[in-house]
């Protein structure tokens, strides 16, 4: 119980290292999710809204990538960015950028796959209507996105949940360096191993609060804030 008290003390005293780790984690997760969505949502709409040869195979590959183990994503990025790897000259290994690259590799298939599945449900009717009204292509795309707004927000949240809670990939390519690449999850692993439970608990507690806040904001966007009242 003492550990909980001390953890709370760290939070309210604005412990510098603790808040540095939180800022780094948010920066990393938000960048990863933003990039993954910029890739995944257009790709998902493109795949989900029409039929083409090889779509079945493509969806199978996507679904496999959606379950890609984080350490495997980490390993791939590690080997690419390693000094002896093809992109070694960029000197990106053990930086926040490397962590974002690994997370994009993990999250963009999830965003693409989920978007493709959910777009496929409503799109045929939307396209029929659009054809009747002779709408232009951009208007059709806008219509598809706005008709799927609520589930798309869930997709973005799923991606964010994956980014902020992930530890295997960012530990491998980030290296858990103090003040530089230490995120909340890798810090929790380290501090627990050191027996410094108060720091680990404080971080775990904040991790849950962040998830709650983000979900609350998203539910307002989805317009379901009062649905459960």
């Amino acid at each position: 119980m003492d550990a909980f008290k001390e953890a709370f003390g760290l939070i309210i005293s604005f412990d510098k290292e603790l808040y540095g780790i939180i800022a780094l984690t948010l920066k990393m997760s938000l960048s990863s999710v933003l990039i993954s969505c910029l890739i995944g949502i257009p790709a998902g709409v493109a795949i989900g809204s029409r039929n083409f040869k090889g779509k079945g195979l493509l969806m199978k590959i996507l679904h496999t990538l959606m379950g890609l183990p984080p350490v495997v994503a980490g390993l791939i990025v590690f080997l690419l960015l390693s000094r002896s790897g093809p992109l070694g000259s960029l000197k990106l290994l053990f930086t926040v950028r490397a962590m974002v690259i690994a997370q994009v590799l993990l999250i963009s298939p999830i965003v693409t796959g989920l978007t493709a599945s959910l777009v496929a449900v409503k799109t045929p009717t939307i396209l029929e209507t659009a054809a009747g009204l002779r709408l232009s292509r951009p208007t059709k795309l806008k219509l598809i996105l706005s008709e799927n707004k609520a589930p798309l927000i869930s997709v973005v949240l799923t991606g964010f949940g994956r980014a902020i809670s992930e530890v295997g990939a960012i530990s491998l390519v980030g290296g858990n360096i103090q003040h530089r690449t230490r995120a909340m999850t890798t810090a929790i692993v380290l501090e627990t191993g050191k027996g410094n439970f108060k720091f680990a608990i404080a971080l775990g507690f904040i991790l849950i609060i962040i998830a709650f806040v983000i979900n609350s904001i998203a539910s307002v966007f989805r317009g379901e804030g009062y649905d459960y009242a």
């Binding site: 390693s82 000094r83 290994l93 053990f94 290296g175 858990n176 360096i177 103090q178 003040h179 530089r180 230490r182 890798t186 810090a187 380290l190 191993g193 050191k194 027996g195």
Partner: protein
């Protein structure tokens, strides 16, 4: 299609069972090699709990000695490995019958508090500083490790710290103190506090062309995959002495003191010390541990 899937699934199951079985039978042969040999004494209280640090365990020394000890005495040695602090804490809580550790100050405190009977230092090795072959900070030939670290700090060449409160990390901090410096990763861009295990830090050092303080055993076992060389070895302030300590049965109930004494006695025998002195020569071309203190 379903048939093919079924066959694949069945194959996976058969293969995994085979793998499990072969692993299992391998284990039993090594375990029973000792107890089934005739002429092994029967012990009333056969289980001995030995608490040691990860570096001792990773070196493979105990797994190498254990079957010989068990065959000779009939005891069952159970080894747990943790960081130095946790390894000693197991002795204080009565969860270990003896310790095999390498942190002199903490060991002396353990005996002073009455948890240990006597500290018996018996073997040692050296921490070394590894780094890029061209040695950009020019630490080759430094008289002490503290002097070498001061040179690294002055040249601002990258240095990887374990940063995880391990025995090796404590040793590093003591050396910085000797050098009269206290670098930290927030202000000093060259100082990288990784917060990871020895192997991970060596890999990072190789990637970043950085200096790393490591135990020699871990370095030798990973050498082939690293772009690092020993730039400072065997200086006096890098000595790392290992001791055996039997836990005091008056402090905790249910300790296997006879077992602990038997293991310590066996470890300190001429023949065993000779085995330790030979350990690693075949694999690494040099011994991982030296006899003495």
């Amino acid at each position: 299609m379903k048939k093919v899937l079924g066959i694949i699934l069945a194959l996976i199951m058969v293969l995994s069972t085979m793998a499990a079985c072969s692993g299992g039978s391998g284990d039993t042969t090594t375990n029973e090699a000792g107890s089934e040999t005739s002429g092994v004494p029967l012990q009333a209280n056969p289980v001995i709990r030995c608490s040691t640090t990860t570096s001792v365990n990773d070196s493979g020394l105990l797994p190498y000695l254990e079957p010989m000890f068990e065959a000779a005495t009939g005891y069952d040695l159970q080894v747990t490995s943790n960081g130095t602090g946790a390894a000693i804490a197991l002795g204080e809580s009565g969860d270990a019958d003896l310790l095999l550790v390498h942190a002199k100050a903490s060991e002396e405190e353990f005996v002073e508090k009455g948890f240990g009977i006597e500290r018996k230092p018996f073997m040692y090795n050296f921490f070394v500083i590894v780094g890029p072959a061209d040695d950009p900070a020019g630490i080759k030939g430094s008289a002490t490790a503290a002097e070498a670290l001061a040179k690294i700090a002055q040249a601002k060449e990258p240095f990887i710290s374990r940063g995880d409160d391990s025995g090796t990390h404590k040793k590093e901090l003591a050396l910085w103190k000797d050098a009269g410096l206290s670098p930290n990763g927030e202000e000093d861009a060259w100082y990288i506090a990784a917060g990871k295990g020895m192997g991970d830090c060596l890999t990072m050092g190789s990637e970043k062309s950085a200096y790393v303080i490591t135990d020699k055993g871990t370095y030798l076992s990973m050498k082939d995959n690293l772009d690092l060389e020993i730039v400072l070895g065997e200086s006096d302030d890098m000595k790392n002495t290992y001791s055996l300590i039997a836990c005091n049965p008056e402090k905790n109930e249910g300790l296997n003191s006879e077992g602990a004494d038997a293991f310590i006695e066996w470890m300190l025998k001429e023949e065993t010390l000779e085995l330790i002195a030979q350990y690693g020569k075949e694999q690494y071309g040099e011994a991982l541990f030296l006899i003495g203190q």
